[in-house]
């Protein structure tokens, strides 16, 4: 039992307690604590990842050494460690990127409360990734929802409060269904620990009893988590929530929060019910169909948008559709593709949000398209970053979007019936993405014709060092994911192997 195996538990507890701690500090100190906490956890998860890759098998950590029915367990494999590292990196960069927005948009007194929410969010995300117990998962899902609602609401104008309320209502619906699904599973198997439940479910499936309640619980859990991660028909709250909140919360919400729920769904499918059973049931096809529709409808509504932030928000509805389509295919390459897309979309989406805020800086903080013409010349780095982000979303070769598109297509070709609809949907959604993303790129590079638009000013590179640094790191991360994606895919494959 090396010391390294304690690290995951320590990172959860550290972020959990740094939450209330930063509520007593003032704004400046809370920010520093938060940055420190995130970086420490990032380093710890990297150490865990290295350890797990070296040993080659997942380990289970019993909190307080109490065995299963009483004590709680977390299980750490390559996939979980990789997701943890990645989430910390993205969160760190988003926080750094959004520093200036936070200072302006949040009142002085409430600065530290923001960091409370961020730390809690981090702890709940880590818990979601590591936990091996269903009910703990539910509790942390709730913590996640409340802190995310706090992130949206922090900006205190009418729109954000209304968005937060809508967000809460929809999420509570989702978690209600999730809780019902978990109770059904508990009712069927009498266990709460994932590995035990899986054994019991396998026995049930062999004996053929309780087939319908098992199916109902699967449906409830999938629909619950789908609502929380804004899959197409349940995405009404997303544009307002991401569109009007402050920059770093929009970046974190869009790239991490919804992905946490999807990762939980994948864990439940793999470790709780077992992917074989899921594949036979109809749930997979429903998710596939919703994924395909989500891809197309998300992009269609994004084309109509006149506000750059809401446009990016709608595009994440489409990208979540990609992920659901991915593991809706039901094959191992499909799941690998969707997990890779979780990473690549997280990196690209937060890059786009930060770059968009850079562009709006040069247009007097108005996110309307008419003011953004020529913004690419006024804020050079943000222009380049936004172009890189859009090219990655469209799936251009050097960038990460291309690799996930490649993986999705290869996964689709393996599948008999679902191949043509997936390939056609991929092609159409690439074109739709190109329509609205490249439209914006071309708009920011067309020089401003109307004279005397006083809001527009040139933003020099050094004016916001933090944001520029974040942008550069995001671009490097995106290109890194695009060019050397081989090791990451290998890790995902071995991680999924360990999931069983």
């Amino acid at each position: 039992m090396e010391f390294v195996q304690n690290l995951p538990f320590i990172s959860i507890i550290l972020s959990l307690f740094s939450g209330p701690l930063s509520s007593v500090l003032d704004g400046k100190k809370a920010k520093r604590v938060n940055i420190a906490v995130i970086s420490i956890i990032g380093v710890m998860s990297a150490a865990v990842l290295a350890y797990v890759v070296r040993t080659g098998k997942a380990f289970v950590y019993m909190m307080g050494h109490f065995p299963a029915p009483w004590g709680n367990e977390i299980r750490v494999g390559v996939l979980e460690a990789l997701m943890a590292v990645f989430f910390c990196v993205i969160m760190l960069l988003s926080m750094i990127g959004g520093v200036r927005e936070r200072e302006i948009q949040i009142e002085e007194t409430k600065q530290n409360l923001y960091y409370v929410m961020v730390n809690l969010l981090l702890s709940s995300l880590l818990a979601l990734i590591y936990t091996n117990d269903l009910f703990t998962a539910y509790v942390f899902v709730e913590i996640n929802t409340i802190s995310a609602c706090g992130l949206i609401m922090i900006r205190q104008n009418g729109r954000t409060i209304e968005a937060a309320t809508r967000y809460m209502i929809m999420s509570l619906l989702g978690s209600g269904l999730l809780l019902l699904g978990i109770c059904f599973l508990y009712d069927l198997t009498g266990q709460l620990l994932m590995s035990n439940i899986q054994a019991a479910v396998r026995a049930l499936d062999a004996s053929g009893q309780y087939h319908i309640p098992l199916l109902v619980s699967m449906v409830l859990i999938s629909v619950g988590l789908a609502i929380k991660s804004a899959l197409y028909p349940f995405h009404a709250w997303l544009p307002d929530a991401y569109g009007y909140s402050t920059l770093s919360s929009a970046a974190i919400l869009s790239s991490l929060v919804s992905k946490g729920y999807i990762f939980l769904l994948i864990k439940i499918f793999y470790r709780v019910i077992g992917f074989g059973i899921v594949r036979e049931s109809k749930v997979i096809h429903i998710l596939f169909v919703f994924g395909i529709i989500g891809m197309i409808m998300g992009s269609l509504s994004a084309i109509k948008e006149k506000d750059i932030r809401r446009m990016i928000a709608y595009s994440s509805v489409a990208q979540i559709g990609y992920i659901y389509m991915g593991f809706g295919l039901g094959t191992l390459p499909g799941v690998i593709a969707s997990i890779y897309h979780i990473l690549s979309h997280a990196a690209t989406k937060s890059l786009l949000f930060v770059a968009a805020s850079g562009l709006t800086d040069s247009a007097g903080d108005s996110t309307d398209f008419s003011d953004l013409t020529g913004a690419g010349y006024r804020n050079k780095l943000a222009g380049i970053a936004f172009t890189v982000g859009s090219l990655s979303m469209v799936g251009f070769p050097v960038f990460s979007g291309f690799i996930s598109k490649l993986l999705f297509a290869q996964a689709a070709v393996g599948h008999e019936i679902k191949m043509l609809p997936t390939l056609i949907a991929l092609a159409i959604s690439t074109i739709l993405n190109a329509l609205y993303f490249m439209n914006t790129v071309i708009r920011i590079y067309t020089p401003e014709r109307r004279r005397g638009n006083e809001k527009q000013r040139v933003v020099p590179l050094r004016e916001q060092p933090a944001k520029s640094a974040a942008l550069v790191c995001f671009i490097v991360l995106n290109i890194f994911l695009g060019l050397s994606s081989e090791p990451i895919i290998e890790m995902i494959r071995t991680g999924l192997g360990m999931f069983m």
């Binding site: 029915p69 609401m153 729109r159 209304e162 809508r166 809460m168 209600g176 019902l180 109770c183």
Partner: protein, 125 residues
């Protein structure tokens, strides 16, 4: 449709009906307060269902009163533990929702969410 199962498990049936009422209220009600009430109904229904899972007829509550240590004397304590955590969660969530509603009411003097959204669309912030 063999009703015997239903009669034996009438309690679970009641829980499910309550869940349905709470869920539909949370989803469909216009008034925010009614939504929160619906939320609480849904949660309590869940905890009723959970508590029933642990219940074994003829056994006592899992509190050691007269020194009896034998496990067989008590019902399964875990669901009760879960219910406790559940109640904590739903209390905090309701508190958050109520604060949001108060804030909205102070600003827009109405509890109808859709009306707030239309007003927001018209005059921006």
């Amino acid at each position: 449709m063999n009703l015997t199962n239903l009669i034996n498990n009438y309690a679970e049936a009641v829980a499910m009906i309550l869940f349905g009422i709470g869920f539909s209220n949370l989803l469909l009600q216009k008034n925010l307060i009614k939504k929160i009430i619906g939320l609480n109904i849904m949660d309590t229904a869940m905890y009723l269902f959970l508590a029933l899972k642990g219940f074994v007829a003829g056994r006592k509550a899992p509190i050691v009163v007269d020194g009896v240590q034998d496990v067989e004397a008590y019902i399964n304590p875990i669901p009760s533990g879960l219910v406790l955590t559940g109640i904590v969660v739903s209390v905090s969530v309701s508190a958050l929702m109520l604060s949001l509603t108060i804030r909205l009411y102070r600003r827009y003097h109405t509890l109808d969410l859709d009306e707030i959204t239309t007003r927001l669309k018209k005059e921006g912030l």
